[in-house]
């Protein structure tokens, strides 16, 4: 069963706390992505990972970092979260040769108070 999972689904943190969002996929896809979704803005790409330890900044990387130590797992880290990082975060994966055909997880709704 082709699946992208995200944990946790909902998270409330206080400003200045560290945040770890986790994403997993069972399709052995080389490429993985982190996006955030805000009302009226569509999805904005935070980071893209082409494989283990091969990560590249997306369009809005400031305030975020990522880690990919296994092909099936991709983490998004917010060091000292800010209130403007309140958003819904989506992870996605794709085959390298079909980068535009992405499989999305269900999202994590993060609230930073």
């Amino acid at each position: 069963d082709m699946k992208v999972t995200q944990m946790p689904r909902y998270l409330i943190k206080r400003m200045g706390e560290n945040v770890l969002l986790e994403c997993g996929q069972d399709m052995s896809h080389e490429t993985m992505y982190w996006y955030r979704q805000d009302p009226g803005l569509g999805l904005q790409l935070i980071y893209i990972s082409y494989d283990v330890d091969s990560n590249s900044e997306g369009d809005i990387p400031k305030g975020y970092r990522v880690s990919r130590k296994k092909r099936e797992h991709f983490s998004l880290i917010l060091d000292s979260a800010k209130t403007n990082q309140t958003s819904v975060y989506f992870c996605a994966s794709s085959i390298r040769d079909r980068a535009y055909e992405q499989y999305f997880g269900p999202g994590t709704r993060l609230t930073v108070l």
Partner: protein, 112 residues
């Protein structure tokens, strides 16, 4: 740089009526074009895709889209909508750098 415009933030259609969701893109060459759909409380799913060839492409659940290069458009159509089509639809051009640009989305509501 590529960009995409979905001019209608919200569209309401009666069940059984036809549908068109508009999308215009800006890109220096010919982009690859996609429509994604997001059902409530879910992630996005690929609805249909255009790489080349026949400008009218078919997707799942009776959706189709037409690539009109002269107009830089890739509008989504359906002949007869169902209540289950209620969702947010995203137009998304891809430009050869393995990155998609997502539009702001159009929220489709189906009236009974």
């Amino acid at each position: 740089a590529q960009s995409v415009t979905q001019p209608d933030a919200r569209v309401t259609v009666s069940e059984g009526a036809s549908l068109q969701l508009r999308c215009k893109y800006s890109y220096s060459g010919t982009p690859y074009l996609f429509w994604y759909v997001q059902y409530p409380r879910q992630g996005l799913q690929l609805l249909l895709k255009y790489y080349s060839g026949d400008p009218v492409v078919q997707g799942v659940n009776g959706f189709e889209a037409e690539f009109i290069k002269s107009n830089s458009s890739f509008h989504l159509r359906k002949a007869s909508v169902h209540w289950s089509d209620s969702a947010v639809y995203f137009c998304a051009p891809g430009g050869g750098n393995e990155k998609i640009t997502f539009g702001a989305g159009t929220k489709l509501t189906i009236k009974p």
